[in-house]
């Protein structure tokens, strides 16, 4: 008998992961750590790469963080980011759920769903930069489609009114940016949720129907709990995306209108790549943002975790431990 030598396949697991790990270390891990370090240094000035830790130049180690947190612009940017995200997320999840309920309803089969899904999803693949500028021209002052509609509708009711400058006021700017975000993402969220509902076993719905649940009850008491995991996924990705918002506010309004549309990401870029090139302060702001996102994501995962699954996992671990002890 030929004694075939035993091949150790495990090493291929390592070999095949090397490209990922190397790239990750060089292009993500190192920059992240570098950013953390820069947050504690005096690095500033265009193209400067020479830095010293703050205590060595006689400053408080946390001076950059303090500067950022006490800066009125950062506070405003932070508030704006949250406001815009919330203004966009609530209608986004609301309408996505509404359409999900309608399109997946077993009793009234809506025709032309495929077409609606394709249409609603379309803005998501369009370059956000293009959409931002398109909406900017649409809400132009004194002439633009939005003002044309506004004046036209007023005329119908017999009211003469002047063009409104949407881009000079705090709240209209926020609402419009939130709307563009909503416009780009509600279809995406809807498609995700519908996929989740389709994945639910039909027996669950049949049982609910037999028990006499009406549409609304079925949706709130059966469908939504079943798609909890997907809603978590949507919430977390939207939150991370929302806190990283850049393209749309940057090109829609920039720093105009008294920073009404300034987001934290825009703040970071403006600090680092314009004015006096305060890389250190921008890095500190990034770190603050990073910590906030990690904390929030962890909380969300904890609140919405699958409790049954967690229990099973715990039990399995205990069993394993017991088995090991027995051995």
């Amino acid at each position: 008998m030929r004694n075939k030598k035993l091949v150790n396949y495990a090493k291929y697991g390592y070999i095949f992961s090397i490209p990922f790990i190397l790239t990750f270390c060089v292009f993500t891990l190192y920059p992240v750590l570098y950013t953390f370090v820069i947050g504690f240094t005096d690095l500033k000035g265009a193209g400067n790469t020479d830095w010293h830790f703050l205590p060595t130049v006689g400053k408080n180690l946390f001076a950059n963080f303090k500067d950022v947190l006490t800066s009125g612009t950062f506070q405003k940017a932070f508030k704006n980011t949250w406001t815009i995200w919330i203004l966009n997320f609530i209608p986004q999840i609301g309408f996505a759920l509404l359409f999900t309920a309608w399109f997946t309803d077993r009793r009234s089969k809506v025709k032309g769903q495929g077409l609606f899904k394709i249409l609603f999803y379309m803005p998501n693949i369009i370059t956000a930069a293009t959409l931002a500028i398109l909406f900017n021209v649409m809400f132009g002052y004194p002439k633009g489609p939005a003002n044309d509609i506004l004046i036209g509708v007023s005329k119908l009711f017999g009211v003469e009114r002047k063009a409104y400058n949407f881009n000079a006021n705090e709240w209209p700017v926020k609402f419009i940016i939130a709307f563009v975000q909503f416009y780009q993402w509600y279809g995406h969220t809807m498609v995700n949720l519908i996929a989740g509902v389709i994945g639910i076993s039909p027996e669950v719905f049949e049982a609910a129907e037999i028990d006499g649940a009406n549409r609304v009850q079925t949706f709130f008491l059966v469908t939504i709990p079943c798609i909890r995991q997907i809603m978590l996924f949507v919430l977390v990705t939207s939150l991370i995306g929302g806190l990283n918002m850049f393209d749309i506010p940057q090109l829609y309004i920039g720093t105009n209108a008294n920073n009404a549309g300034l987001t934290t990401n825009m703040y970071i870029r403006n600090q680092a790549f314009s004015g006096s090139y305060l890389y250190n302060r921008a890095a500190a702001a990034s770190v603050i943002l990073f910590i906030i996102i990690v904390i929030l994501s962890s909380i969300l995962f904890y609140i919405l975790r699958d409790k049954d699954e967690a229990k099973i996992k715990k039990l399995r671990k205990q069993e394993l431990r017991a088995a090991r002890k027995g051995l």
């Binding site: 990922f20 993500t28 920059p31 249409l119 369009i126 370059t127 293009t130 500028i133 002439k143 044309d148």
Partner: protein, 291 residues
């Protein structure tokens, strides 16, 4: 009996009403989605004066003359869509290929082999997905600057080898569809591990690769933040960076021309979407369920 019949008919009546409401709202949203694009198309064929008079009408005195004028104006300045297209094409194509190939390879390493740090590595990938892009920006820029790689398109391409999101989806797909028996029989036939991956596993993963490739492509094509920071050379601008030039003051009064500029950048996306929309929407659904 009759009581039941009345109940059924009232349910039916309610159903019709509900359906009417559903269609009205859905059609309203469809119009809302299409309106900006239709308006953009209409205004491409208008002179700036006509846009000023009313941006909403679909009428123009000299549509083709205006379009030509708008076109000449928009092409005469810094805005060079051809350059943007070329750069975006290079970046998006290369990074998509690297993204899907190496993500498949990594996912295969996790699902097919038993190795010591496998679970730890898998957990790490999940954690990395949460790292927001911003947090790397400053450090990344400093590193790139020191390496002298600013204004090199390759710096936008190479990092896509490590795409945790894609690895995550690929792993989900492999767990459901990879049977180790095929791999074993290929081993018995004497195929090397690398060859097995390229000739057996990759073809097996085609549906997942297609879906993820579309998303990687769209994501890379539309990316503005990093290119805006890294590319300062005019000849290296990608399309979104090109588009961002349209906010410059020199275009402020040429409304028709700005619409043409936007239209040029949107058109290819819409054409591609018209052909691939079904797969794209199905792909989104696939990603959502699996997570």
């Amino acid at each position: 009996m009759s009581d039941n019949a009345i109940r059924t008919s009232s349910i039916k009546k309610n159903d019709t009403w509900l359906k009417v409401v559903i269609y009205i709202v859905a059609i309203f949203f469809s119009i809302m989605t299409l309106f900006p694009f239709l308006m953009m198309l209409a205004n491409c064929f208008k002179s700036s004066d006509e846009v000023q008079q009313s941006a909403l009408t679909f009428w123009s005195a000299d549509p083709f003359g205006n379009f030509k004028k708008n076109w000449t104006f928009i092409m005469s300045k810094e805005f060079k869509p051809a350059v943007g297209f070329m750069n975006s094409f290079i970046v998006a194509t290369c990074s998509t290929i690297l993204n899907v190939y190496f993500s498949s390879l990594t996912a295969y390493a996790i699902s097919a082999y038993e190795w010591k740090f496998r679970d730890a590595f898998n957990g790490m990938i999940m954690a990395i997905m949460m790292i927001p892009g911003t947090v790397t920006t400053i450090g990344f820029y400093q590193m790139v600057y020191k390496l002298g790689m600013v204004n090199k398109l390759s710096i936008l391409i190479i990092p896509s080898i490590a795409a945790p999101m894609t690895v995550f989806f690929m792993r989900q797909y492999l767990q459901a569809s990879l049977s180790m028996e095929i791999v074993q029989s290929a081993r018995i036939d004497g195929a090397g591990e690398f060859r097995i991956f390229n000739q057996i596993v990759v073809p097996l993963m085609k549906p997942a690769i297609a879906t993820q490739a579309i998303f990687a492509y769209v994501g890379s094509w539309n990316n503005l933040f990093m290119p805006l920071i890294l590319l300062t050379d005019k000849e290296k601008r990608t399309l979104p960076v090109m588009v961002s030039l349209l906010t410059n003051d020199s275009y402020r009064t040429e409304f028709g021309a700005v619409y043409v500029g936007l239209f040029i950048t949107v058109l290819p996306l819409i054409v591609v979407y018209a052909f691939l929309s079904r797969y794209i929407v199905e792909g989104v659904a696939l990603g959502g369920v699996k997570s």
